[in-house]
Symmetry: C2
Subunit: 115 residues, 2 copies
C-alpha cells in the first residue's frame, strides 16, 4: 500500500535531449514494490515540450491539467484535461504545451522495468 500525491513527490528536470521546460515525478514505481507498471508524471511548462522520440515500450497517459498537442509521425492531435492516450511501442511521439499560462500535467504509465 502506498498513498501519495504530487506535493510529496520529488521533481527533477527532464534532461533528455530535446526536452524543454519539463519536470518529472515518479509517484509509483519499482521502488514501491509495484509488480508490473509505474506512474511517472510530467509537468510541461507553457511553451515547453517533451522530446520527439520513440522507444520499444508503450505509454498509458492521462491529462491531469492543461492542454496541448500530441505530435506523432502520422499527425498531431489536441489533448486536454481528462483525455486518455495510448502511445504504442515504437510510435514516435512528443507532447507540446501550446498554452501560454497553464502547465500541461500528464500521467505517463510505463512497464515497471523502465522505472
Amino acid at each position: 500500500m502506498k498513498i501519495t500525491n504530487l506535493e510529496k513527490t520529488p521533481a527533477t528536470r527532464m534532461n533528455m535531449k530535446g526536452a524543454i521546460n519539463v519536470t518529472r515525478q515518479i509517484p509509483i514505481s519499482s521502488r514501491d514494490g509495484s509488480p508490473s507498471f509505474a506512474f511517472r508524471v510530467f509537468t510541461i511548462e507553457p511553451g515547453g515540450n517533451t522530446p520527439f522520440h520513440q522507444h520499444h515500450y508503450e505509454h498509458l497517459n492521462y491529462v491531469i491539467q492543461g492542454s496541448g498537442k500530441l505530435k506523432t509521425a502520422s499527425g498531431e492531435y489536441t489533448v486536454t484535461r481528462g483525455d486518455f492516450m495510448l502511445v504504442q511501442p515504437n510510435e514516435t511521439h512528443q507532447y507540446v504545451n501550446t498554452d501560454t499560462s497553464t502547465s500541461l500535467v500528464i500521467i505517463c504509465g510505463v512497464p515497471v522495468e523502465y522505472e
Copy 2:
C-alpha cells in the same frame, strides 16, 4: 495510438457483490492493443462503495475527482483528488465515497490480462 475521454467511453454498472452505486468505464485496454496494462475508471456516487475484496493482481490508482476512504485490512485512509494509490496484489481493499454531493472518480490501472 488512441485518444479518448470519459464522455466517449461507455459506462456499465459494476455488478460485483458488495458494490453500491458504482459505474465502470474502460478507456484503455487489451481491445485497444495495449501491450501490458489497462486503465479502468470507477465512478462511485455519494454514499456508494466498491466491494471489500482482494485479488492476486495490483491496482495503480489516481483520484480524478472527489474524496473518500480507502479501507484495507490494516486500516483506512482518506484519499482525495490528486492522490495516487498503489494497492498490492492480495491486499484487501475498498473505496468508499464519504461525500454527500460529489462523485468519487478513480483511475484503476490493472495488468492487461484482466481487461
